[in-house]
């Protein structure tokens, strides 16, 4: 399935510290992190390196506060990285000036947020056209593109509603449409389905898989839900206190956890799998089957 096997996202030794690293200390290499931390800085991302290939769904998983949101925001510099390098589509994001960065955000990446981030005073249609409007695209043109994206996420007929009139699931569909209409190759998704109840969440996950089969984007997907990671991910990284403790296919992580932290993470999942393999076949197992078949292909 992944014939085009070249890295679209390449991250090298990325670090992010919050707070002051102490007077006179400029953290420009991961070696200085410890010293900064001793001086009272918070180390949210700790020397993280990885690659994501074209068309891949890369899941970043970890407990609350492990630095997932900070990491994904560093990629488009919504959070300014302290040190390290981010290359996207062959361009070094960490070197861009303000103008280049704006252009980059308008065309190369699109982001979906946990809290949707929709404009409450704009209709669904206006929300979806927002990014295109920022680019200065003509009204007719951008509305045409937006209608297609709205159709794609199954919201046709809701164009004139305001976000407050939509359910959480529908609001996130708007968020996804707004990202898709950008026609960017890379989607950054920060816990997009965490705020939704389980049934809707599963529906949205299936929706994402369907869209992904159709559109073949490169997706970086943040979640704290192992089940979601297994269901969606081609590869996954487990994050702890700002560092990657394991990177691999969901299958590998499930079967060969790298350390106790990961083991504890996957324990419940394995127990459930074993439990239900003896009885009937509920949704969890199907999801595992699906995850395996996806990562095996």
């Amino acid at each position: 399935m992944r014939s085009e096997n070249f890295p679209v996202v390449e991250v090298k030794h990325l670090c992010k510290i919050f707070g002051s690293p102490g007077r006179g200390l400029k953290v420009d290499s991961p070696d200085l992190l410890e010293q900064a931390e001793n001086n009272g800085a918070i180390c949210a991302v700790r020397n993280v390196s990885f690659r994501v290939n074209h068309g891949e769904v890369f899941v970043i998983m970890g407990l609350s506060g492990s630095g997932k949101s900070t990491l994904i925001r560093c990629l488009s510099r919504l959070v300014e990285p302290t040190c390290g390098q981010v290359m996207i589509d062959g361009e070094e994001v960490t070197n861009m000036d303000e103008k280049q960065l704006t252009q980059f955000r308008r065309t190369k990446v699109a982001m979906v947020f946990q809290h949707y981030g929709l404009l409450p005073h704009r209709t669904v249609l206006e929300n979806v056209t927002f990014g295109l409007k920022l680019r200065g695209m003509k009204v007719a043109e951008r509305e045409e593109a937006a209608r297609q994206a709205i159709q794609l996420v199954g919201l046709a007929g809701w164009e004139k509603q305001y976000p407050a009139g939509l359910s959480g699931g529908m609001q996130q569909r708007v968020g996804i449409a707004r990202a898709l209409v950008q026609d960017a190759n890379i989607l950054l998704m920060d816990e997009p389905f965490s705020g939704l109840d389980p049934l809707i969440r599963r529906e949205m996950q299936d929706e994402l898989i369907r869209l992904q089969e159709e559109l073949r984007k490169t997706i970086l997907f943040v979640t704290h839900d192992l089940n979601e990671a297994l269901y969606l991910g081609d590869r996954m990284a487990v994050m702890r206190e700002g560092a990657f403790v394991q990177v691999g296919s969901p299958q590998e992580v499930l079967q060969h956890p790298a350390d106790d932290y990961v083991r504890r993470f996957v324990q419940d999942e394995r127990r459930i799998t074993q439990m239900v393999e003896n009885s009937s076949k509920p949704a969890v197992v199907r999801s595992l089957d699906k995850a395996r078949s996806l990562s095996a292909s």
């Binding site: 488009s76 919504l78 704006t102 252009q103 980059f104 955000r105 308008r106 065309t107 990446v109 699109a110 982001m111 947020f113 809290h115 949707y116 981030g117 929709l118 404009l119 409450p120 005073h121 927002f130 990014g131 409007k133 920022l134 680019r135 004139k160 509603q161 305001y162 407050a164 009139g165 707004r178 950008q182 950054l188």
Partner: protein
């Protein structure tokens, strides 16, 4: 007793300074003063050009359209009617003209300052203490600088009113912009909004309810100040009140006071109605 040899007066130097200012900058103040006066007269002419029955029915229609409540609309109409019944219509329009002129000036000055204070910390750091001082100062004090530079009349009345009325709109503009949800702003930035686009597309529209609350308060304060400004010859309803106090004419004072209150309530309701229209929509609209 405080020893006399320790007395130290600044009054004389201030007088000298003002004298110098009015001489050296005389043409400028004259030009400025004429400009404001011209503006004021245009507005007054416009207000008086509209016949009283059109005013009253206009206010009724707007109020009904805003609230969909007949009672509210009728009450506002009745309030305007009393002004006319007391024979104070022309004087009230004079007051309204000064209020409008002052409010327009206050908004032209105040909203950009509020926006700048929200955008730049340094501006905020300067503006905040200034506003604190302005709001704790007794309102009479504002008459002094206006009087110094423009003498007696309507223009110093407008100037004093502008200074007195500008703080709320500055504060509420800044507050409104700062309160815009950071997750919405982050989303806009993620899609490549420049600072200017962020302000225009996200921060300002979402701060609008707060800004309009500021406009409402500024208007109310302007109305209160216009009455006080009659002490330096601004005219209007305030002058009626002042004259009644001097003559101990309680009845006349009451009528003029009532007219001020009626004007205040009508302006308050109408501007609040406008503010409500800017709230982001809730629920399904079909």
């Amino acid at each position: 007793m405080f020893p006399e040899f320790l007395h130290f007066h600044v009054a004389e130097s201030i007088d000298l300074f003002v004298k110098w200012l009015t001489v050296a900058w005389g043409p400028f103040f004259k030009y400025f003063s004429n400009f404001i006066l011209g503006f004021l007269i245009h507005i007054k002419d416009l207000l008086l050009f509209i016949p009283w029955w059109l005013w009253i029915s206009g206010v009724g229609i707007i109020s009904w359209w805003q609230t969909r409540r007949v009672i509210t609309a009728l009450s506002l109409m009745a309030l305007l009617m009393t002004i006319g019944l007391f024979g104070l219509w022309t004087v009230a329009m004079e007051t309204l003209a000064i209020v409008l002129t002052s409010v327009i000036m206050a908004l032209i000055i105040g909203i950009p300052i509020g926006v700048a204070a929200a955008e730049f910390r340094q501006v905020s750091a300067i503006v905040k203490p200034l506003l604190d001082v302005m709001q704790t100062m007794p309102s009479f004090v504002y008459l002094i600088p206006a009087l110094m530079l423009f003498g007696l009349g309507k223009v110093p009345g407008v100037i004093a009113t502008v200074i007195y009325a500008v703080p709320p709109v500055v504060r509420l503009t800044e507050l409104g912009i700062r309160q815009v949800s950071s997750s919405i702003q982050e989303a806009a930035l993620a899609f490549g909004a420049t600072r200017w686009q962020l302000l225009r597309e996200v921060r300002l529209p979402l701060a609008m309810p707060s800004i309009l609350a500021g406009v409402n308060q500024t208007t109310m304060m302007a109305l209160a100040m216009v009455v006080i400004a009659s002490m330096i010859g601004a005219g209007g309803l305030g002058e009626k009140v002042l004259v009644s106090i001097n003559r101990m004419a309680v009845g006349n004072g009451f009528e003029a006071g009532m007219a001020v209150v009626a004007l205040a309530i009508v302006i308050d309701r109408l501007t609040q109605g406008v503010a409500r229209h800017w709230q982001p929509p809730e629920g399904i609209s079909k």
